[in-house]
């Protein structure tokens, strides 16, 4: 089996949620806060909360609140359609979120100051990562390691990784392409749709792709 030039290094990662003082009672306040809250806050309500939305119709906290608390379905759909995979920095994502809300309010000024049923509470994700001894030099070792990851750590390696790498990819694909020189496999893993799946489902698909490649 092909050996990598450098090993894949596993970590244990998780997030604490820190509650921020900012709250939005209206869409105008949401628009205003989107421009000034921290990057960790934007991350928390988009990348970090993605997993919790497989029960609801919308893929991020902002969209969910706009629908559930403001009853603005069209704006909720627009916000939910923003694909996190298109962004390599929180700043870019913030600009799109912010302009989406502002454009909507320009077209629908009458809803800007209408009070929501309940406020939106801004929170930050505080990432805590510790390195593990586990390393992989082969695809089989990578698959074995992925089986051992908690869902938070899988999220760190597969979803939030693109902000760290500044590439439109995940930690596994990046290592497979860079260290094992298997770009096709890297691309196949990167096509797994984490929007339409739970993290457990994502893990199963990753293992299935690796398993098929090995055989």
């Amino acid at each position: 089996m092909k050996q990598a030039k450098r090993p894949f290094e596993f970590v244990a990662a998780t997030y604490l949620t820190q509650i921020c003082p900012e709250r939005a009672w209206t869409l105008a306040e949401l628009a205003q806060n989107l421009t000034k809250v921290s990057d960790a806050c934007i991350f928390n309500h988009t990348f970090q909360s993605l997993e919790s939305h497989h029960y609801t119709s919308f893929s991020n906290d902002f969209a969910q609140w706009v629908m559930a608390a403001c009853n603005e379905g069209a704006l909720a759909e627009e916000l939910a359609a923003i694909d996190l995979r298109d962004f390599l920095s929180i700043e870019e994502l913030r600009k799109i979120l912010s302009s989406t809300v502002e454009n909507y309010l320009r077209k629908n000024p009458q809803v800007a100051d209408r009070p929501a049923f309940e406020p939106f509470h801004f929170c930050e994700a505080v990432e805590v990562v510790v390195p593990l001894e586990a390393r992989a030099f082969t695809l089989a070792e990578l698959a074995e390691g992925i089986k051992q990851l908690s869902l938070h750590t899988l999220h760190y390696h597969f979803i939030s990784s693109r902000l760290r790498l500044l590439l439109r990819t995940n930690d596994f694909s990046h290592w497979i392409e860079d260290s094992l020189e298997l770009p096709d496999l890297a691309q196949r893993l990167n096509r797994i749709d984490f929007y339409m799946n739970t993290l457990d489902g994502v893990r199963k698909e990753i293992l299935q792709v690796l398993n098929q490649w090995n055989h």
Binding site: A12, T14, L16, T17, Q18, I19, P21, E51, S52, Y55, T56, E118, P119, H121, C123, V126, V128, V130, L132, K147, Q148, L149, S150, L151, H152, T153
Partner: protein, 419 residues
Amino acid sequence: MESLTSTPTTQPESHIPHLEDYAAIVGRSEIHELREFAHRLGGRRVKMMNSTAVGGGVAEILNRLVPLLDELGVPTRWEVLKGGEDYFMVTKAFHNALHGEPFDGHPEWFELFLKVTEENRRWIELDEDFIVIHDPQPVALVQAREGRKNHWIWRCHIDLSRPNPQVWNFLRPFVEKYDAALFSAPSFTQGLPIPQFLFYPAIDPLSDKNRELEPEFIQNVLERFGIDPNRPILTQISRFDRLKDPVGVIQAYHRVRKYLDCQLVLAGGGATDDPEGEIVLREVQEAAGTDPDIHILNLPPWSHLEINALQRASTIVIQKSLREGFGLTVSEALLKKKPVIASAVGGIPFQVIHKVTGLLVQSVDGAAYQIRFLLSNPDIARKFGENGYEHVKENFLLTHNVKRYLVLFLRLLAANSGK
């Protein structure tokens, strides 16, 4: 109305689960990572402090959290504040006032609160690396931190969104002396100058209250309490507390009974820090009258298996609280795949996602209507229960709580060392 004060045949926690036992539910990977995070704490010690050893959600969480932290190599001690009946009368009034109820206390109540804190401070060792104080009762112990280099954390389990200003203004200066405050929901917080973190409370899926039971045992419990297993059972599990609105549940049941046959079970007990329990129980008994299909079960605090059996036997579980901290009984019911009808207060909407894992209501009429809806649509009720099980498994289990504490401790250490 059938009112019982029962002595269960079971003893406290018939089986104490170990960390590895949870792997079957949350996966081996989660357990492995808990060990990794715990290892990084290098044997640092923790003290948990609250005001009651039995009854209520906080004692239940600590009862399981403490041994698991210990097993992970994080030596953890749990101490309970000592106080007389007069002191707990005061703290109950504080508790209600912090939930937004009117406060007609006297200035000497504040003095008594501080006096009892000072008496406790004399006997409690507070030298551990992390001191976690639960709820307002022991909050003023933070005065003892002067001269110590350890980390102090205030875990607030109640909804502080609309506190009575007189009580909150008295407690707030103590809270501000902590390194961090932990709340069950973002909406429960107050503007504080210290970091505030979101900590969902959690249930133990392997405790006597939640573990799988033999059908014969469930049958036996129903027989013992005179409940008919062949007719729909509506259940609210909570201590007899006005904020849980047990009388409102009886009113909703009466509205349902106009159209549908069912029984109502109100089961709970008292906590040692709640002197109002007996009075509320009498109010509930009075509201139930002589209806033989209302079962009021005043159970001792160790009746976990009985509570478990009642939840598992229920057709619908109700939590019609007027105010709520988090309402862990909701997660208990969802873990058992039961449809839940609950008030949209406190932490309940985090557990009951409306029309996904159950139904949220605002009133007696709303509760009655939704009970009729679910009794008439058992397929929808079953789907809510299945969704609820998945939701709890992902968010509200004890192992998640253990992880949050470990990570918080690591975070505080890192902040202290300027990393």
